[in-house]
Amino acid sequence: MKIQYKLSLMALGVLALTSCEKHDPFADNAEIGQYVPTAYWELGSTACKAGESFSFSGKYYTEKGYTPDRSEVWYSVVRKQESSATLQLAGSLLSYNLTIGEEDTVRTMLKMAEFPHSMAEWDGYEYVIVGEVPTSSTLAPLRWAPGDTWDDATQERFDYYFPKATEKTKSFTDSFTTVVVKSLQDDASHGALRKVFCDYPFTNAQITEVNTKYNVSIPLLSDKVVADPDPQAAVTEKSDNWYYLEEANNKKIVGYYYNTLVDGKNVPNEVAIDDANLIEDEANGNFSYKVGETLYPAYPVYDAAAWLFCRYDNSTGSVKTTVRPEYMPAFAELLTIIKFEEWILGNDGYVASFNRKYELKTQFKVVDTAGNVGKAYDTHTVSIN
């Protein structure tokens, strides 16, 4: 009886495993009983010029009782697009590149060529078919770059190729300028901000507007007498204004500061040079600032323009200059005046490009006279150039 029970249980177990179409471990991995022709293939080249044909060599055979009818090459079309622009206005002081790429299947897998079985030759083991598959000249790659002139036609082409704003995403230009303007407000980008301010021809009217709006005093170009009538003098003047070069270079101490920790970050607190709580250790010349019973290390603040915080930085052991927080909104607003194309203008023209390429995802199929379809295991990618 025992063996009968065991055999019965085994038989029923097999029944249980195979009777279910949804959870059949056998049929999940193989199409039992469904015969298909066996096919495999290779390409003559994985690159093809748009409008020309790519060659292939296919091999196939059928089991006894089945007859091949035809072979087919199918392909889908995948489009790859990439829009890119690189910041130039800040020179090497701030690097930024925005590249937005997308890859989409733009045409589904479709039969693009058919070859009757009569075209195939028997090589003693299998049928061999050598054929060519057409491609469209519309799939030629495209590269567009603005060159060194940004006129209406350039703007029209740029708008045509580069990503526009959607409900969920900013336009390419907005994404680019937002990051650049934000990056220039970082303390670490102080040098880059200075370069942009000096190089870009902001007008006095623009500077006056932000001065008034934010109650600050970024100097107008006429605030400082320029003896040299050289056309570059304005830049020199802005550069001088920015740094107060003489004073900063001579490290004239105009005050001290000490750091307090707020939310895990060092926040500098400036104190006057004659503040009674500023204590000098005469033994080593170091300063401390007394708050209650606590002594904080204090470091020199050097003379500089009103919008700059120029000081000795203990963590790096060197002079560090950053824009004062109360001035930054005014500079940030000035930066928004700069147009997208002005940010990307370098010595060799506008540094932006749009690239579009297509790829074909190809598949080889063999159909027998009974309608059974065998697919080659390998799908190949053909780059269109």
């Binding site: 029970y5 019965s8 249980l9 029923l12 177990g13 029944l15 249980a16 009777s19 279910c20 179409e21 949804k22 959870h23 199409e31 469904q34 298909v36 290779e42 390409l43 003559g44 080249s45 994985t46 690159a47 010029k49 409008g51 079309v77 489009r79 990439e82 020179g91 090497s92 989409d104 299947t105 733009v106 045409r107 589904t108 479709l110 039969k111 693009m112 057409p134 491609t135 469209s136 000249s137 519309t138 030629a140 790659p141 495209l142 060799d348 690239n355 390429k357 059974n372 379809v373 780059s383 150039n385």
Partner: protein, 588 residues
Amino acid sequence: MKSFKKLGIMAVVALAATACVDQDPEIHDFPSADVDFTYSVSGDEYVVDYYVVSPIQFTNISEKTGTVTWSFGDGNTSNEPNPIYKYSEAGEYNVTLKIDATDGKSYSRTYPILIYDIVPKLSVDEQSQDIIVINETTVSFKLELPNPQNLKVKYVWTFPEGTTDAEGNVMTTFEGLGQMEGEEYKVQYPGKLKFKHIGSQRIDIKTWFDAGTENERQLEDTYLNVQVGCNEPAPTLYYAQQDGNIKALKLIDEANSNIPAGTKVFPFDMGVSAGSMPFNLCYGAYDDQQFIYILDAGKQYYYINDTSNNLGDGKITAMGVDGTNVNTVVSNEGKSAFMDPYCGFVYGNELFYSDRNNGVSKIALNARGQAETQSASDAAFRGSYVFENKLLTYYNNNGISYGAITAGLYKDANGLWWWGKNYRGNGIYRFKDTDIYKTQADAEAAYKSSGLPYPIVMSGIQLRTFTIDEKNKALYVWRIDAASTGFYQYALPGDTEAGSMSGYVKYVKMAATPVNSTASEQVHTTQLAVDEATGRVYFAFRADSSDPSKLGTGIVYYDPATGKCARYGETSDAGYGVAINPTPSKLF
């Protein structure tokens, strides 16, 4: 127990009877699912193009039957069983077939379709010689444009610098019309043209339908690269353009050629992708076929803790020297990131190539479609390795340390290997095949008994690539030492010599863009190629903003006769690998 057995059998029977939810047999996808369709361009014209004007045949191949609704993605629908539809505007649409089936359920399937605007196709119609060469060959063109309504078309041609008509008159632009003349539609052409400069000469075409009317519509621009060769055979330099294609420049030796003065050498765009990080190109020939092998380290070219050994994305691609017969030689896609190909060279009928830091492999020049082999149980082992770090006496504190990144690979005519390393073990290491041991223990024993086979060349040098000119006994090195960055020429060290970093013959101070901000992963200049004919050394230079040479980004050569570097060709492409096909040819 009997009751227990009976209960068990009853449970299994119950399982067998109830485990299956769907009682109806499912029809499998051979080829149709419940709902499916295909589409194709109807008729015999432009069947692969999917132009706006094309009638698209949509064919329902669904197993399910019922009420059919087609949505073409542009707001229009149809209830025809198999509609033919024309899109009025170019674009990408999603087409949906929905079937309200007789079983009371709805089924649908959506496929994308790209409808292309009409684009003129410009091609060479006739040329007076087999190969188009400068100043000699006259070329006429053919413009094809699907225009079933015979609309009036305006074309504006823009020619590259140096274009002339057959009589030698300069041509910069040409405006022509396509329109009905009597019963015939005729297109005006600029006539036969000649080209003064070498390389891909790009002709741009702007096209308008109904120009000058209220219905005027500009079509997408198109262009044709006319491949214009030299008037006499010359070697060819290939380079991998950063984020672009493989390009080629004819190498003209101005002093010994009959190329007319003023001829400019523009690059040929081979139309073959250079890959993500094509650090090296190699020229190789077999069976009268010539190929350029593109060694692409992939996007994951720098260190990553690839614990699953599946982040590799590099590959080696073979491209015929004329840009045809492009095929993958060996792919490391989905294998260990450390195994991506970095640099290599052709020796005989084999391509030798290094991975990032561990070893050197080889593969036959005619191999295609291979996958990198690798043991899943030992990520550091690869079946095709010719050698790896640990099989050399230099390994393990004798020069090369674990993780030392490859910075150049060469095997000279005497069979001596030269292997550049940076990061851990800066220097160039030399050995013969007999200095490669079967096990690490053998290598260690050999070191104890005999020491190193050759002195380490310039131990400590921070190099990114090097090459050797055996004929002129020169060693060329690209160094990145902070104060000494740039191109160096050294005398080739003899077998017993180590060379001296400061003992250079010439030094050109240059700074290349490092690409990667991590010091040990910085790329700089990735390959140097010696032109055997002139002894010049070519490389793709991506100038850093701090570059003191002021040469700018492009292809640069070092001339040992002058000891100076100079730009070559009319290109400012940023690039990586370079290789020279020494076989003189007018085109490729």
